[in-house]
């Protein structure tokens, strides 16, 4: 049985930096290529890099395959190769069936033309026949929900209307193989639901779909198989339940690293003008056994050890502890006074141990923010993380 898409050890390189498209560079290049006569795709010249390195995969007819990966991993390059906009430097690919790409659904629009004219223009650009569009016009119109504005030039459309019309045209191309690149997030919630519904319909009708998206939930719900790309290489391939958590882990690790760097630079220290009477010298996370740890399992109890140094006497200080997720959402917050923990006064060095227990946090990167306040909560004394 033939595969719908077959990608055999494909290599693709791009050039970094500015290309000077002028005769001045062309002449020396021409001379050089005449003298050296080396095969164009063999190796990297200066400033070139591999956007895809030996990528192989296949897609069966009627299958939905998701491609995920961080920005710059080569996802869009794959789609561009598949839609024949570019050719690979090495390797081959095979496509069986009519290919349509939902890559940039509004690329074919001309602002001066009306919605109706643009439907025809964009439709033919995507490979439809005029007759076909005649037949489907009403459906396209209904799908877009733009009946009242169809004879208005699209330059007067809102950006939401613009991309809705674009998607509506593209959704009715009726391909055997559909390449989708991050275009499902158009319009309002209602329209997005319609888009996802349309995708499912296409699926049922046996269309092979290749979906590139950063919306992992969508990939998980639509795809049977997921390919994870990283820096131009296939890092993992399998069911969404294997690949997506693996990918999320990579992302979290990177996030953690970045956060750590930032904290080390002291970006998160609250700047206090006055001489502070109390300072936090260290905050450490501990597990139940009292060992220092950086990462914890879900449901693993966590304790904090706070070492402070009060240069002057502070009356009835208040400690606050906040657990903040990497993206800045405060997940837990606790204030010593509210929890009935009253310290009469602190002076000199001291150590405070707080047992947080099982915090029931979802897997992600978190940091803690500890603050010492004086009793009126006016002066934060010092902030630190762990």
């Amino acid at each position: 049985m033939n595969n719908a898409i077959e990608f055999n050890h494909v290599w693709k390189k791009f050039k970094k930096g500015e290309k000077f498209n002028s005769i001045r560079d062309a002449v020396p290049n021409l001379v050089r290529s005449l003298i050296q006569r080396k095969p164009e795709s063999a190796s990297l010249e200066n400033q070139e890099f591999w956007a895809l390195k030996d990528v192989s995969f296949h897609v069966n007819p009627g299958e939905v395959v998701g491609v995920i990966g961080p920005n710059g991993a080569g996802k869009s390059t794959i789609l561009k190769l598949l839609s024949r906009i570019m050719l690979p430097n090495k390797g081959g690919m095979e496509l069986n069936g009519r290919v349509s790409a939902l890559i940039e659904v509004t690329a074919g629009f001309h602002p001066e033309l009306t919605g109706r004219e643009n439907v025809y223009l964009n439709g033919t650009i995507l490979g439809m026949k005029r007759k076909e569009i005649d037949e489907k016009f009403q459906e396209i119109l209904d799908f877009s929900g733009l009946e009242d504005f169809i004879d208005t030039p699209v330059k007067r459309y809102s950006s939401g209307m613009f991309s809705r019309l674009g998607f509506s045209v593209a959704a009715y191309v009726d391909p055997d193989i559909l390449l989708v690149d991050e275009v499902l997030a158009v319009g309002d919630i209602g329209f997005q639901a319609k888009c996802a519904q349309k995708m499912r319909e296409l699926l049922k009708s046996g269309t092979t779909i290749m979906l590139v998206s950063h919306q992992l939930a969508l990939v998980q719900s639509l795809c049977k198989r997921v390919v994870l790309l990283h820096k131009g290489e296939v890092q993992k391939e399998g069911t969404p339940y294997e690949v997506i958590p693996f990918y999320e882990n990579i992302i979290l690790q990177r996030q953690e690293e970045e956060l750590r760097k930032k904290l080390e630079k002291g970006d998160y220290k609250v700047k206090v003008k006055d001489e502070t009477p109390a300072e936090l010298s260290e905050v450490v996370c501990l597990n139940d056994q009292g060992e220092k740890k950086g990462s914890f399992q879900v449901h693993e109890p966590i304790s904090l050890e706070i070492i402070y140094n009060a240069k002057k006497k502070v009356d009835r200080p208040i400690f606050t502890i906040e657990i903040v997720r990497g993206d800045g959402v405060v997940c837990c917050s606790s204030e010593s006074r509210n929890d009935g923990c009253v310290l009469e006064q602190i002076e000199g060095e001291g150590k405070l141990k707080v047992r947080l227990g099982d915090l029931m946090l979802a897997p992600s990167v978190y940091w803690t923010r500890v603050t010492i306040w004086d009793k009126e909560l006016v002066h934060p004394k010092r902030v630190k993380k762990a």
Binding site: K19, K80, M86, A101, A107, L113, Y120, L121, T124, P153
Partner: protein, 258 residues
């Protein structure tokens, strides 16, 4: 390649339609410009002709003026078609980098849109010539052939230069300069034979020989010079196929190099 273009002929048609539509969109006179422009062009040619005759101290010949009118329109078709074709790939960069279709439809659509303007201009010219009582001859049947030749010539050049311009933007400046001054080196406002033995140089330019052939058939009501006619025909076909071939060979590099 022709097969591919045939497959995408609806696209070619839509792009042509688009280019025509947007040219006259949001212009108060709208479509009237397509009629008005050739009249202006012809009038300008006539004024020059009259002025030249005055300076030379000769009588203003009726046929001389008519021949200017007949030659100015194909010439302006040629330059505008070439100009639009050269820009067509870069002007549609977002399509070239994002969607697959035979790229040749872009310059071809630009040329077809100009051909449409040219045919309107021709209608205007026919009305004017009928009013001027020029009269007809059998040689008029040659005219469609000349227009096909001109179309093939400008298509070949357009494809070639559009591709070249995509890689090296210098091309459009060179083309612009040549088109601006081309009118002096092409027998548009004068006749090739006034140069005597240098006539050959002017007719080697296929546009020149096509224009002279049109002039012979329409204005002089005589058989065009067969040698130069076949020369122009062969040149047009050769240029067309060379342009097509080069374009096709370079096509796969467009998206990355635009």
């Amino acid at each position: 390649m022709f097969k591919e273009i045939m497959k995408y002929r609806d696209l070619l048609f839509m792009l042509t339609f688009r280019d025509i539509r947007i040219r006259y969109k949001q212009a108060a006179m709208g479509f009237l410009w397509a009629i008005f422009m050739p009249i202006v062009a012809v009038a300008a040619g006539m004024i020059i002709k009259v002025a030249m005759a005055r300076v030379a101290g000769r009588e203003v010949e009726f046929l001389g003026i008519v021949s200017i009118a007949v030659k100015v329109l194909p010439w302006s078709f040629f330059i505008s078609a070439l100009r639009f074709a050269v820009q067509s790939l870069i002007g549609n960069a977002n399509l070239v980098t994002k969607i697959f279709f035979p790229r040749a439809v872009l310059p071809l659509a630009a040329i077809l849109a100009c051909l449409f303007d040219f045919s309107i201009a021709c209608v205007v010219l026919v009305v004017m010539l009928t009013l001027a009582k020029l009269g007809v001859s059998v040689y008029l049947f040659f005219v469609p052939l000349f227009i096909i030749m001109l179309f093939l010539l400008v298509s070949g050049m357009g494809l070639l230069l559009a591709a070249a311009n995509l890689f090296y933007r210098d091309v459009k400046y060179v083309v612009e300069v040549i088109l601006t001054f081309g009118i002096f080196f092409t027998p548009v406002l004068y006749e090739a034979k006034i140069f005597g033995k240098w006539e050959i140089l002017l007719l080697l330019n296929p546009v020149g020989s096509i224009l002279e052939s049109i002039n012979a058939a329409v204005v002089m009501k005589q058989m065009p010079d067969l040698f130069w006619l076949s020369y122009a025909g062969i040149m047009s076909v050769v240029v067309f196929f060379v342009g097509m071939h080069v374009f096709q060979k370079q096509e796969y590099k467009f998206a990355e190099n635009i």
